[in-house]
């Protein structure tokens, strides 16, 4: 009997959460779905124009098949270009995602307080915990997932476009674009960036949601100016002789992890820089491999930076729930 009751309560929670997620999508369809789709569409359209121009140019200048010294190397490069195009789709929607997530989280717990419609949501049997978690779920998981899916579709479109262009311009071995590429690996690795991104974005998303739940007005100023001005002031302080502070560390924590971590892939920049500095990358194939490795390898989970940031993000979100519960309007 108790088990049944518990089960119903559980169902009820899931059901409510499901509707809250739908609600977020209804409100933010434009940002979550149409922004990446339209950006991708524009990118494909512009690439088509470029491809047509390129093909015309190439047909005019190409006389006979160019000499081929290193055929396997060439084929691999063509394949790597294919992989690169797939990833290009994801990086494009990733950039859009950064803006969408930033402004979505910043407004998530503020906009409905400003127009007082928060009172309507609060008049329904929906707990503040569920409300805040549904918004966090969109920012951290569902929006990035949608972004990767749309990005891969855009990537496939660019890929096919490149193949058509290669064929039309009479370049040798256009089929290498398919036979020497690794679309499933790329797609899988891009999907793997989602859980990593979730943990990585937690401190920034948590901070923005906490600000969003806390401020009475101007959430952007609070969320951005407080950490940035704080860092600037600490840096200015450093000009006083005799005071030395770990500025790099402070900027990294407050601004890079606290705000800029909403940009997908920012976790891979350090690793990639190291790789490039080592000079271990010699051809496009290795570059693609290095990017995939740095954006989604399991080894990245073994970093204190990631987990400490995630823990702080969870604390921020817990505070946001409390603020949402008691912030008193009007």
């Amino acid at each position: 009997m108790n088990a049944i009751a518990a089960n119903t309560a559980g169902n009820r929670w899931t059901r409510t959460f499901h509707w809250l997620l739908r609600r977020e999508f209804w409100e933010n369809r434009g940002g979550f779905l149409w922004a990446p789709v339209i950006t991708g569409g524009i990118a494909v359209f512009m690439s088509t124009l470029l491809a047509v121009a390129g093909v015309v140019q190439a047909r005019r200048n190409l006389d006979g098949t160019p000499a081929m010294d290193d055929l396997p190397g060439y084929l691999n490069s063509v394949g790597a270009a294919g992989d690169g195009l797939l990833m290009a789709g994801c990086s494009l929607t990733g950039v859009v995602l950064a803006f969408v997530v930033f402004f979505y989280t910043l407004g998530s717990l503020y906009d409905d307080r400003r127009d007082r419609s928060a009172l309507f949501w609060k008049s329904l049997p929906v707990s503040d915990t569920q409300t805040v978690l549904s918004k966090a779920a969109w920012a951290l998981l569902l929006a990035p997932l949608l972004s990767v899916v749309v990005g891969l579709l855009v990537g496939v479109a660019l890929w096919l476009l490149a193949a058509v262009a290669m064929m039309a311009s009479g370049m040798p071995h256009p089929t290498a674009l398919f036979t020497h590429a690794h679309p499933f690996t790329v797609a899988w690795r891009m999907l793997l960036t989602v859980p990593l991104g979730l943990l990585w974005m937690l401190p920034a998303v948590g901070w923005l949601m906490m600000c969003s739940a806390f401020v009475r007005s101007k959430p952007f100023l609070w969320a951005v100016l407080v950490p940035v001005l704080g860092c600037v002031m600490i840096s200015v302080l450093g000009a006083i002789p005799g005071i030395s502070l770990p500025y790099g560390m402070i900027w990294y924590v407050a601004v890079y992890r606290g705000l800029m971590s909403v940009i997908p892939g920012t976790w891979s920049i350090n690793g990639l820089e190291d790789r490039l500095a080592q000079g271990s990358i010699h051809d496009p194939g290795q570059l693609v491999a290095a990017i995939l490795d740095q954006t989604s390898s399991w080894g990245l989970y073994a970093s204190w930076d990631l987990w400490i940031g995630a823990a702080i993000g969870v604390v921020f979100i817990a505070i946001a729930i409390q603020l949402r519960r008691w912030r008193d309007e009007a």
Binding site: R12, R23, F120, W121, L124, P125, S127, E329
Partner: protein, 295 residues
């Protein structure tokens, strides 16, 4: 002061003892005691800044407070999530999210509220101009209130709280609002708590009133008792001195030399001897009891 809005059968729906809420610079509710029984329509009436909205917020668990407050046997501070299954409210007016479509609003409430009756909601909206695809931002204020009311009335809540529900609406919508509430919603298992400045418009639907002033309940009575207790007498100029000697709570002059005097607890026969006797309107009573509020 301990006032009780009477309740003949069970435990009260809302019960407050020494309810107090202080903001940083101002005390909004200063130790109010009241009970609201089941199956009543109670008007919480008071001047601006008397603490009406704060008291409602405390009942709805939207704000912290001191003292004791029990709503349907629960503490709104700690059991709000549970409470909201049985309590519903409309705060101020027209605050539905602007991006939402009629269909989305119905789908969402139906999805999250176990006591929502979708068929009833659709029936209530059937005769309006609200079609499912319409967005809130495209609606007039009156239409938004219609939608909100339809959503809320389709919820089988035990307590419905309305805070200035008709503010900014024209007279047609206001009349319709209360009419529908009475005809299609209210029954003996439900309790409605309403605040408004348009006292005349709700007077006929109320069963009880609570007058609040400076954060305290100054009058708490059933409407029937009110009619027995307070008497209004229309006195001619010839008998005015005699009438004044009986200690009226309030007097106001009418054109053509007549004066209206309001008495608290004056026997009917005594009053009838002075002049024409009437039952005072709630608005007149309110004005009389709130005298000096803004002084």
């Amino acid at each position: 002061m301990n006032a009780t809005v009477s309740n003949h059968d069970t435990t009260p729906v809302v019960s407050a003892r020494a309810l107090r809420k202080a903001y940083r610079h101002r005390v909004a509710v200063a130790g109010a005691d009241f009970d609201i029984g089941a199956g009543r329509i109670v008007g919480l009436i008071g001047p601006n800044g008397a603490g009406k909205t704060t008291a409602l917020k405390a009942i709805l668990g939207l704000t912290r407070f001191d003292g004791q407050l029990s709503v349907l046997g629960m503490d709104p501070r700690t059991q709000r999530d549970e409470l909201m299954n049985q309590v519903c409210f409309i705060a101020d007016v027209a605050v539905l999210p602007r991006w939402m479509r009629v269909r989305e609003a119905i789908d969402f409430v139906a999805g999250v509220h176990p006591r929502f009756d979708r068929a009833k909601c659709e029936r209530l909206l059937a005769n309006t101009q609200l079609n499912p695809k319409l967005r809130v931002r495209e609606m007039s204020k009156g239409m938004i209130v219609q939608l909100h009311l339809a959503l809320v009335m389709a919820i089988d809540a035990r307590l419905l709280v309305l805070d200035e529900p008709t503010l900014g609406l024209d007279i047609l919508y206001r009349k319709q609002f209360y009419q529908r509430l009475l005809e299609d919603y209210f029954d003996e298992n439900k309790t409605i708590l309403v605040t408004t400045h348009q006292v005349e418009e709700i007077e006929h639907i109320l069963t009880d009133v609570l007058f609040i002033r400076d954060g305290r309940i100054v009058l708490s009575a059933e409407m029937d008792h009110l009619a027995e207790r307070y008497t209004e007498v229309l006195v001619g100029a010839d008998r005015i001195a005699e009438a004044r000697a009986l200690g009226p709570v309030e007097e106001r002059a009418l054109p053509f030399g007549k004066t209206v005097l309001l008495y608290d607890g004056l026997p009917r026969e005594r009053a009838a001897a002075l002049g024409e006797v009437r039952t005072p309107g709630l608005a007149d009573l309110f004005v009389a009891l709130m005298k000096g509020t803004y002084a």
